[in-house]
């Protein structure tokens, strides 16, 4: 059973990543990168430069491993599933920072510090939104959170949750308005000095992370594997795919503002909004 579930998780991650590649229309650029040679920077931190893409990919895999594929079935069926995902988010910020810090070059370093400054305040709304989703379930387990949505999905019961979590999803996948790490305005930032296969793996990890964060959002807000007629995993795939497409669409449509203004938005608007969200969700559950 565990072997089958592991296979399903890996297949979902792979299939989802291919779907993300299609959404981004990135097949040819990614394939071409594997044939290019590597370009070295002066005195890089080799360990972190080589491992950062692998860590990003590993965090995407851990994230999707805690997602229940059927109402009572998750590969990592932990009583603290959403805290595991929270740890993944925190480690993503560290990974992106190290990816930008390790080449020892100006643009990646600017991207790394910009992302650390934006990523840390993004974690706070994320935590409040996830804790709010845990309230009706009275548990930190994702299986219990799915179970609590049998009658009404969290997206209806807690309407602010999904929009706030979409901001987190954009930040965790370095996309559109929240892409302060790899943005075009600083010559692709943390990946400016990436080349060859290393660059391709980083981009693939970014797309794999889109699958994981969308699967978590589908589980927490859209009832995950719950749904009529079709089997659980199919519902999870449909919901995850829809959220991936929505994230890519928002990323392409919404403009990015300056980091300083985004910091103000995060601390002054989104953080109080997530407090309010937690308060309302708590009062409803009382």
């Amino acid at each position: 059973m565990t072997a089958l579930l592991t296979l399903a998780v890996l297949a979902t991650l792979l299939g989802g990543t291919l779907f993300a590649v299609a959404l981004d229309r990135a097949y040819l650029p990614l394939l071409a990168l594997f044939t290019r040679q590597r370009v070295e920077t002066e005195a890089p931190d080799r360990l972190n430069r080589d491992l950062a893409p692998a860590w990003y990919l590993a965090l995407a895999a851990i994230g999707i491993a805690v997602v229940p594929f059927a109402p009572d079935l998750a590969l990592i069926d932990s009583p603290v599933g959403i805290v595991i995902w929270g740890s993944c988010e925190a480690l993503i910020v560290v990974t992106v920072f190290l990816h930008g810090w390790s080449p020892n070059a100006p643009f990646p370093l600017i991207g790394a510090y910009r992302y650390a400054a934006i990523g840390l305040p993004v974690m706070l709304p994320s935590m409040f939104v996830l804790i709010a989703a845990a309230l009706p379930a009275e548990s930190l387990s994702l299986v219990a959170i799915v179970d609590s949505q049998r009658e009404v999905w969290n997206v209806i019961r807690q309407p602010l949750g999904l929009p706030l979590f979409m901001v987190v999803a954009l930040a965790m996948t370095l996309r559109g308005p929240m892409d302060y790490a790899d943005a075009a305005d600083i010559a692709t930032g943390t990946s400016a000095e990436d080349s060859g296969a290393g660059r391709a793996v980083w981009q693939i990890a970014r797309l794999a992370m889109l699958v994981s964060v969308s699967a978590i959002a589908a589980t927490v807000f859209l009832g995950g594997p719950l749904g009529p007629v079709l089997p659980g995993p199919v519902w999870l795939w449909l919901k995850t795919g829809a959220l991936m497409a929505l994230t890519v669409w928002i990323g392409n449509r919404v403009a990015r503002t300056t980091p300083s203004r985004m910091l103000t938005i995060l601390w002054v608007v989104l953080l109080p909004l997530s407090f309010l969200h937690l308060l309302i969700s708590g009062l409803i559950e009382l």
């Binding site: 932990s78 009583p79 603290v80 740890s87 925190a90 910020v93 560290v94 920072f97």
Partner: protein
């Protein structure tokens, strides 16, 4: 099996902890310390304390990210990639290290350790929650308010709009003698902002 994994994680935690003092950059030191705590968190998970273990990973990832930023910010080595020596005050730190090592070892060896394994199926996370928000409430609330005060203090100290006006305007270094001229290089010419410097724009 669990014993072997705990032994490996302990070895990893000790090795990464040792690396903190042997690497030559603040960023490497911060994240070596983070890896050490991640191993400790994994040991917590193996000891049937899932919330404490996973929360340790979460807290340490955020904390070490903040620490790396702040340490690099206050160092003379802006990127954190230039080599620097991580150890200083050798005698004092060796003494403190030995005292801490023997003290903790004595505490481990001399205190009677409990041996009551958690029954499988116990809802340990809920029990921890009841403990934190029940008998231990006062301790955690005190710690929470103290941390909040520290954070407010840190923001005030590092804010650009300080108590005495904008931080980047009209600041004068203190004098070399009591009431003397400010230290450092004096601006050239009276009042001018050196228009000849703008040639390269």
């Amino acid at each position: 099996m669990t014993d072997l994994m705990i032994a490996l994680l302990v070895a990893f935690a000790v090795w990464t902890g040792w690396r903190v003092f042997r690497v030559d950059s603040m960023v490497r030191a911060s994240f070596a310390l983070m890896l050490s705590f991640v191993a400790v968190g994994a040991i917590g998970v193996l000891l049937s304390a899932p919330y404490i273990g996973v929360a340790t990973v979460f807290m340490m990832a955020v904390e070490m990210m903040v620490m790396a930023i702040f340490m690099v910010m206050f160092m003379m080595n802006p990127a954190g990639l230039n080599p620097m020596v991580m150890v200083h005050q050798h005698r004092l730190s060796i003494g403190a290290g030995l005292v801490a090592f023997f003290g903790l070892s004595a505490a481990v060896l001399l205190s009677p350790l409990p041996s009551n394994p958690v029954a499988p199926g116990t809802d340990v996370v809920a029990q921890l929650g009841h403990e934190l928000l029940g008998p231990s409430m006062l301790i955690f609330e005190t710690a929470g308010v103290t941390l909040l005060a520290t954070m407010v203090g840190a923001v005030i100290l590092s804010s650009r709009q300080g108590r005495f006006g904008s931080a980047d305007e009209g600041s004068r270094p203190p004098g070399l003698t009591e009431g003397g001229d400010p230290a450092g290089r004096q601006p050239e010419g009276g009042g001018g902002h050196g228009h000849h410097h703008h040639g390269g724009h």
